[in-house]
């Protein structure tokens, strides 16, 4: 119940953040193993998209999963949850 509030900005540095893509830089370079997709095995179950902890997998209706490698850290959760082994981790070069 706020009766009245005035935002009077003074420009002080405050611990406030707005969400944006890549706020910590391109985290893809942290990767030592990379998830790759075998589209023949994929059944488009969406589990990889749901489980990806950094939200970089989209399952496109026609194509199947698309991974944004700029930000994928290669954690391998998608590989673990894939029911058809369509995802594999390969060593980064």
């Amino acid at each position: 119940m706020v009766k009245e509030v005035q935002i009077v900005k003074t420009g002080i540095k405050i611990p406030l953040a707005k969400p944006k893509i890549g706020v910590a830089g391109k985290t893809g370079f942290w990767r030592i193993t990379k998830p790759v997709i075998d589209y023949d095995k994929c059944v488009k179950c969406f589990l990889c998209e749901i489980y990806c902890p950094v939200n970089v997998i989209r399952v496109e209706p026609d194509q199947g999963p698309v991974i944004d490698y700029d930000y994928c850290k290669g954690c391998g959760v998608c590989v673990d949850v894939c029911p058809t082994s369509a995802l594999k981790l390969v060593q980064e070069e």
């Binding site: 509030v5 005035q6 935002i7 405050i14 707005k18």
Partner: protein
Amino acid sequence: MGKLVALTGNYAVAYAAKYARVDVIAAYPITPQTSIVEKLAELIESGELDAIMIRVESEHSALAATFGAAVAGARAFTATSSQGLLYMHEFVHWTSRARIPAVMAIVTRALAPPWNIWPDHSDFMDQRDAGWIMGFAMDNQEVFDLTLQAFKISEDPRVYLPVMIGLEGFILGHTTMLVELPEQEVVDQWLGPRKQEYVIDGKEPLALGNLAWPEDTEEMFMEIQKAMDNAKKVIKEVDEEYGKLFGRKYGGLIQCINCEDAKYFAVSMGAWSGDLIEAVNKLREEGYPIGVIRIRFCRPFPYEDIWEKVKNSKGVIVFDRSISFGAWGPLFTDLLTGLYHYTNNLPIMSNVVAGIGGVNITYNDFAKLLTSFIETIEKGDKPPVFTWYHKR
């Protein structure tokens, strides 16, 4: 002209929150604070105060809820004591470091174990590194005035820090005194609507307290230090304005009594300053040239103001009602380090810690300690730098 009513210190706090038209109160009961929020609940129930009371399961949640409401733009208030304040400690820091204006009353009480509900300043002084403005009242009228002023100070854009106001449990909290309440319209005009740097109200996605780099973190805290400096000026301005509007001006960060021609000074904070002033009045009649400096705000610490008073003095005795174990009383150590900035030739400084766990210190005790301090110096001896004055 306002009206005179008989109020306990705790009710004076509650009325100050009402006059500030708080939007949200979140609190958990603890002796000797409880009657503040009981009174506020009563005022909400009777329709005299338009606010929400959030009943929580602990003090940690009480301040978290107060903080959350304040972040969303509410004029928010809470109160606690002793163990409750210690339990809040994490959110004490969250509130100040997020630069969120808020007001909290601390009805001071000893810390356990052993279990003890009597007053000293241990709980209050334990919070002194947290980035809150810290004021302490001497009587119930000042409890009301300081609590109301706390909202104005806290929401000043030059400050934007939370404020805690101390009052001793029972000595002020549960004893009654005539308190002058102002006219609501004058308060409304003076205090104005709530002001803050930012709100998080769900209209745009924002995160508070994300990971930050060391340099950014340090810069935020450097700004808190700067805001503390600004607060010294703001506290004095608010004291002046309040004096003009409501007829009571206290002197800013300190109040000085019998200081004009004093050669010796006694420094203290809180309700027992009343007994100290009695003792000094008595000693004045006997010809001792002594004055009292009562600390009204210990954060920011009034180094400059005290130095102005004591620079030509022969001796300064500081009474602390809390102890930093292994060091001395915190008011004393703060004052000693601060004064060193101004001179290499300090007056003789002495610290008395007393009244811990609620041990009653009367004006006779003060008179005895003060005469002994003065006479020791007059004889050419040096009084002990630290004494824990105990009696039973």
